[in-house]
């Protein structure tokens, strides 16, 4: 049975580089959940460098924290652009630890990113989700539109050898 956190028990804040150890752990947990455990290749040092030492940072991160020491979940996002409507955000990852589910933490994280999108004048908040993930109904409750179904957008990726080979040989 779910046991929602009371208001103020869990806070969502901007991550610092000291959170990247916990975030790296959760990135792996998320990959495990998506049944793609071999996906993550970045070290804690990579995350620290990319998010907190490079200018501009490559990504932004929020963490959900309890009692100023336990990181319960995270969100990674970055700015993108729509040539129709302008500034937008892409939510790359949203994850809550398995033993903290159903307590309102995911909603706190998602709402915080949406607030950030609103505060920075973004017209869109885009993200991808695996079709079988029941989080789809959570996103639909937020008013998210499934662009794959509604407008028949396909999501394509060029990576690895295919990317390198095309760059070399055209």
């Amino acid at each position: 049975m779910s046991n929602k956190y009371k208001s103020g028990e869990v806070i969502v804040r901007a991550a610092t580089k000291h959170d990247m150890s916990a975030v790296a752990e959760m990135i792996q947990e998320l990959a495990d959940y998506e049944k793609m455990s071999d996906g993550p290749k970045l070290s804690i040092k990579d995350l620290v460098h990319d998010g907190f030492e490079k200018q501009p940072p490559e990504f932004f991160c929020k963490v959900a924290e309890k009692h100023k020491e336990n990181i319960l979940g995270y969100a990674i996002y970055f700015p993108v652009y729509s040539t129709w409507e302008g500034r937008a955000l892409m939510l790359e990852d949203l994850y809550v630890r398995m033993n903290e589910r159903r307590r309102g933490v995911g909603r706190l994280l998602f709402d915080a990113v949406a607030k950030e999108a609103s505060a920075t004048g973004c017209c869109r908040l885009d993200f991808h989700v695996l079709e079988w993930n029941p989080a789809c109904s959570f996103y639909e409750s937020k008013g998210a539109v499934n662009l794959t179904n509604k407008e028949q957008w396909c999501y394509y990726r060029l990576t690895g050898d295919a990317l390198r080979d095309f760059a070399k040989d055209g």
Binding site: T83, W84, C123, W132, L158
Partner: protein, 188 residues
């Protein structure tokens, strides 16, 4: 044979204003092609400001020139994968109708991939309409993957009214799960 030059526009100059004017005009071609001709809402000044006056810039553009004219463009932004690091997202890839079938799209994509390779960018992502057969044929030849087919990934969007509603703490009523859905932990 590829016969066009691809320029990377990053420096503010009068040429940039011409680029943005061309972008402004040919976006409408792209929008009409996608069946939403009244889609674009940005002015030329919006494009100039967001792409060339903000720091960091919100996007970067590759322009293809053919016979002295702007033949097409790729408008992209820096992205990030928590698995593999730096990535690039292609928001628009467009070749003006009168310049088709001359290798312009391929030249744009190749220039983009060269830039990715030089900057250790390991992932190039974009969306394409399912019924865009010529584009799909080109992308297949690049070795691109359809992430819905390969991983069952859906593209979702929260539009501005919903962003504001969520930021204000609102939630729509939940819908009952479809029959046959897996039972997995939920976020809330």
């Amino acid at each position: 044979m590829l016969c066009c030059a691809v320029l990377y526009c990053a420096v503010l100059s009068c040429a940039v204003l011409c680029v943005c004017l061309c972008l402004y005009l040919i976006r409408y071609e792209l929008a009409a092609h996608e069946g939403v001709a009244d889609g674009p809402k940005l002015s030329i000044q919006d494009l100039v400001s967001d792409g060339f006056e903000q720091s960091p810039a919100w996007f970067f553009v590759l322009i293809a020139e053919l016979d002295g004219q702007v033949a097409g463009y790729a408008l992209c932004n820096r992205a990030y994968s928590s698995w593999t690091g730096r990535a690039v997202y292609v928001e628009d890839l467009w070749v003006s109708e009168r310049h088709r079938r001359r290798g312009v799209a391929r030249a744009l994509l190749r220039a983009l991939c060269e830039r990715c390779a030089a900057e250790q960018v390991t992932r190039l992502d974009w969306h394409v309409l399912e019924d865009n057969a010529p584009a799909l044929a080109l992308y297949a030849r690049l070795g691109a993957r359809d992430l819905y087919r390969s991983e069952r990934r859906l593209a979702l969007r929260l539009d501005e009214p919903c962003i504001l509603a969520v930021a204000a703490g609102h939630l729509l009523p939940s819908t009952p799960p479809q029959s046959g859905a897996h039972i997995f932990p939920r976020f809330d």
